[in-house]
Symmetry: C2
Amino acid sequence: MDTKKKILDVALTLFSEKGYGNVYVGQIAEGVGIKAPSLYKHYKSKQDIFNAILDEMRERYNQKAADLNMNGSDYLADSELYKNVSEDELVKMGIGLFSFFLHDEYECKFRKMLTIEQFSDRELSKLFSDQYFDEPLKYQSGLLHFLIMQGKMKEDDADIMALQFFAPIYLLMTVCDRQPKREKECLRKLEKHVRQFSRIYKGDDK
Amino acid sequence: MDTKKKILDVALTLFSEKGYGNVYVGQIAEGVGIKAPSLYKHYKSKQDIFNAILDEMRERYNQKAADLNMNGSDYLADSELYKNVSEDELVKMGIGLFSFFLHDEYECKFRKMLTIEQFSDRELSKLFSDQYFDEPLKYQSGLLHFLIMQGKMKEDDADIMALQFFAPIYLLMTVCDRQPKREKECLRKLEKHVRQFSRIYKGDDK
DNA sequence: ATTGACAGCTAATTCAAATTAGCCTATAAT
DNA sequence: ATTATAGGCTAATTTGAATTAGCTGTCAAT
């Protein structure tokens, strides 16, 4: 298998558990199944490994952003998808969001690492906010706005609705990140939250 | 001034910015205004400094918990306070919560450090969840429950309402933690959120 | 005034982690 | 077949942070 790739993988795993400063190159090497000096055939320093991870992160992020703009950002064009947004649809979407963020292995490690390193560098701060605040809110705000126009939801500030929809999901996810045992409990709360949200904001359907 | 105390203060500041592993005792000493070896007159190791900080954290936490149980946990007894909870009161409470968490110097460093170290130790994971999830939710759920009984708010699941009230506040706070420039923007959203929350859940007052 | 403990300093010392040197094998291209 | 390269290894070496040793001045208590 591709050692160079595997190094990044192992390193990301370790960085996401302990943070850069508490991981030793020997541990990375061990995880890869080689000795520490061999790492230097692939990367010129520990810092270089970290940078490579960041590059990959950025690349994936840009890819994802591009994808979304291609498909998702024009909600009107996309309206087929949302024609029948019921409470159950919203629940599915909330749980889908939650599960994806929580279980996608790369996503999960990436998020933990960013959580640990977020204060150490301005660029990381921004990346974190973009990824876990601005982008999700923008996306959901657009969706909710669309639902409001359809009369499926009450007239109200869609940005704030998005915040109220997303923030609990995100918070529950962080609980699971540090206490995986609580996943069941969090999922239960998540579903209740989404149902209650949908009920509260349901439009004056007849 | 008390050097021993100051060491903890400086160390906490640094740990909250870079994390334990990326802080050198020399930096702590420099912040205190002494040389590194002098630290060892007060603490027997870097780890010992970290532990002392944790001890202090635990102590403050327990103190706070005790205070709350003394005063706050019995909402009925406390009802004087909540007799007249208006939308403005809620806004004030939300902003108060936010501002306290965000600006109290100790609270703030403590939170950042815990954010960085939360995955490194089971006890820290629990402490984090207690402090930034379970406790606030318990408290606010109690309060909301009380408001519901008073007919000030709609009948609904108070636990979920608490989640929907608190999670956005918390999320906005984390944004400010990493991008202090955005405080204005976050405060604006915060206020909108609380007003919208209060409006949405307002009871059928006459 | 002497003593002792406290809290600082400089100058070692220790130690572990990161990195470099240099050797070895496999394999793929010429 | 030869050679070059990639990628592994062991054994240094370097580096720099943590800690210890041991000296000094201050000040409070005897």
